[in-house]
């Protein structure tokens, strides 16, 4: 099992979610985050006081996937989140040791 952490542009959330649902991935967790990479921030001016805002709002999406559909999931996210501009985001794939469903106690791939 793998965990995919995807940092994506906020307005792409619905598209990525729908694309993942279409290949059978029904659950996910999202967090509203801020960050920057190569995408530059912007300037805000309040009554003459100039501030550089470096951190840009993004969505962090976390999904746990079975080994056999990892590549498919990555593919789907890449297509849906892409806008061909700087700041589209990054994907991180991490190994997962165990998954347990709280209600029933199921473990492993059954709990995903």
């Amino acid at each position: 099992m793998k965990k995919i952490e995807a940092i994506i542009k906020p307005f792409k959330l619905e598209e990525v979610k729908d694309a993942l649902n279409a290949i059978g991935i029904q659950g996910m967790t999202i967090t509203e985050v801020k960050g920057y990479g190569r995408q530059k921030g912007h300037k805000e001016i309040y009554r003459g006081a100039e501030y550089m805002v470096d951190f840009i709002p993004k969505i962090k999406m976390e999904i746990i996937v079975a080994q056999d559909i990892v590549d498919q999931a990555i593919d789907v996210i890449m297509k849906a989140a892409n806008t061909n501009t700087i700041g589209d985001g990054k994907l991180f794939v991490l190994p997962v040791e165990q998954v347990i469903r709280v209600r029933t106690g199921e473990k492993g791939e059954e709990a995903i």
Partner: protein, 430 residues
Amino acid sequence: MKRKIMFIMSFVLWILTTNVFADDATINSGDTAWIIVSTALVMMMTPAGLALFYGGMSRTKNLLNTLAMTFVSYCIGSIIWVMWGYSLAFGPDIGGIIGAPTHLFMNGITVNSVSGTIPTFVFALFQMTFAGITVALILGSIVDRMKFSAWIIFSMLWVTVVYCPIAHWAWGGGWMGNMGALDFAGGNVVHINAGVAGLVLSLFLGKRLGYGKEAMFPSSVTLTALGAALLWFGWFGFNAGSELAADGIAASAFLVTNTSASMGAMAWMLTEWVVNRKPTVLGIASGAVAGLVAITPAAGFVNLPSSLVIGAVAGVLGFYCVAVLKHKLGYDDSLDAFGVHGMCGLWGALATGIFASPYINEAGTGLIYGNIGQLWIQIVSIVGTALYSGVATIVVILITQLLASGLRVTKEEEMQGLDNALHGERAFEL
């Protein structure tokens, strides 16, 4: 039979007509109703208008502290006024300097007392709302770093020692009014007074930690815009109500107030658009307030074309003082009480000396109608107000420092945020 009917008819007519000439003969119900409403309008300007205007510009961690200081300013102004403030400002004149304590705790004023064409209680309460908002304006200079206990003590002393004398000078039979200085609704008494006091207090408190280096975002331009709109609404009571009557001059004051506000907003916005390439809502809201400040001393004296100029200049001047002058001179007048209220109040007081039209109000003739002397009188009143406000505020500050054991919060409290450190509250539960 006919005679009986005639007798009864004339008796009824007599009853009806004599009621008009009853005990409170000089009370005009139209004037009274309007000034009662104006009082309520101006009251709203402090805990609602100004609180939100300032609160939205404060950092989120200090929003509630700003609201708290504004709210209690009005409460303190209300209480001090009815205890001794009214008497100091409007009691029998002593040497042109101050009012006698004849009316301490409103002593001697009854439900039958009349001031002009309105009950004295109404007049006193209307003036009270001015005292409340003037002291509240000062806190705009010092948000984010003052002890709450120090602010409470400061307010009590300041209304007594600084506001009341100046109000007496301009409106209560004191030397400024006697000299012929024109201040319709408080260019000197309110705006220059509060602006100078704010600057002085901000210099004593010192700059905020991280000022000039750290980003200090306003918590909510949304709240500030709403606050500005409430201030504009209330300002109709502030300016048009200062005629103390529901008449043509009040109507004229109403007209020029709205015009100046609109011009101020557009002028600030356009200036900002040119200089910073983006018009901001903060700029539009600030410009409206600048226009309102400037028209305050002039409201019942100037005609419409003058108000177009007064508002436009106020918008540009306000922008300059806030966006350029302050950063050049380096003082931390946090929310620009001096930049907007002080400086635009100064412009308004001068503009009154220039544009006052005897065709609007026979009480005032300005430069463009041939009276060069008025401008000089205005200058004298401005300097007198600024000097006294500065010096007396320093005295109040020194006493406050003693009584409150210091004015400023600790570094830790300042970094933590005053809402948490001083009030144990959060502005938002998100």
